[in-house]
Symmetry: C2
Subunit: 148 residues, 2 copies
């Protein structure tokens, strides 16, 4: 599975959605959302590493951690490589992003010395991605997932 995802800062003036939940939930979960536009503000290296650190703490089958993240920050050669993987219609959402991240999951895992197909690699990777998105949200950063 390959996903293209983008984490970036939201335009300060963009109005926040007014959200209310039926049952009380933690505000960091309620306030995570996927904006359609991004500013071109940069992320610091520390900030970016905190996002991946959050992903790393997600649960996974037999703690296999099947997620891998390929990223490129703006104004690098690699950014263009990832940007050009996006379908045309999605490029406009991504062009001002601070970072592009490709989320990949490993289809097999080694358990007790034996390589077996993982039935949960996508599920586990979705959980890791959500940790990343929530960590971003709790820092006032926003993320948008674009499917290839």
């Amino acid at each position: 599975m390959v996903e293209k995802v983008i984490g970036s800062q939201l335009l300060q003036s963009t109005p926040r959605e007014v959200r209310s939940s039926i049952y009380k939930i933690n505000p960091i979960i309620l306030n995570r959302w996927s904006p359609r536009s991004m500013t071109d503000e940069k992320l610091s290296y520390e900030e970016l590493m905190s996002l991946f650190e959050a992903a790393r703490w997600a649960p996974s089958s037999a703690n296999s951690q099947p997620w891998r993240f390929i990223y490129a920050t703006r104004d690098t050669e690699e950014w263009n490589t990832l940007f050009n993987l996006l379908v045309e219609g999605n490029k406009r959402w991504a062009k001002n992003a601070a970072v592009l991240i490709v989320v990949v999951s490993k289809k097999e895992f080694e358990y007790k010395g034996k390589v077996t197909p993982s039935v949960t690699h996508q599920f586990d990777t979705g959980a890791a991605w959500e940790n990343l998105a929530l960590e971003a949200s709790s820092r006032g950063l926003y993320s948008l997932t674009l499917i290839r």
Copy 2:
């Protein structure tokens, strides 16, 4: 995809793991963990609904929300039905749980009136589950995922 999952309260006397992250992350992400034993304390209906509410706010492809949760609380007939779906080796972890939850994802979704296979149903459902697990964790509740 079908997963058996359990949310329940952790034995108060169970020592917490001492966790530290390399890069700073939100404590609710760092402190979520999967205990191996559960107390038999009950969850209130409101509390349980807050867990599902958290799941509901997860992002998904075209906002398709492909996750479905089948749950049973302890001391109900339905609890036995879900409990008996567990493989023998996992029953000991689940027997004192307050609630058993089966996580299911929908493999197809309707987009612009057309039913199409979803390539991200497991990924999206993993994200929803992680929201549920983090909401639980932020309430001092703990969850454990058992694969069928």
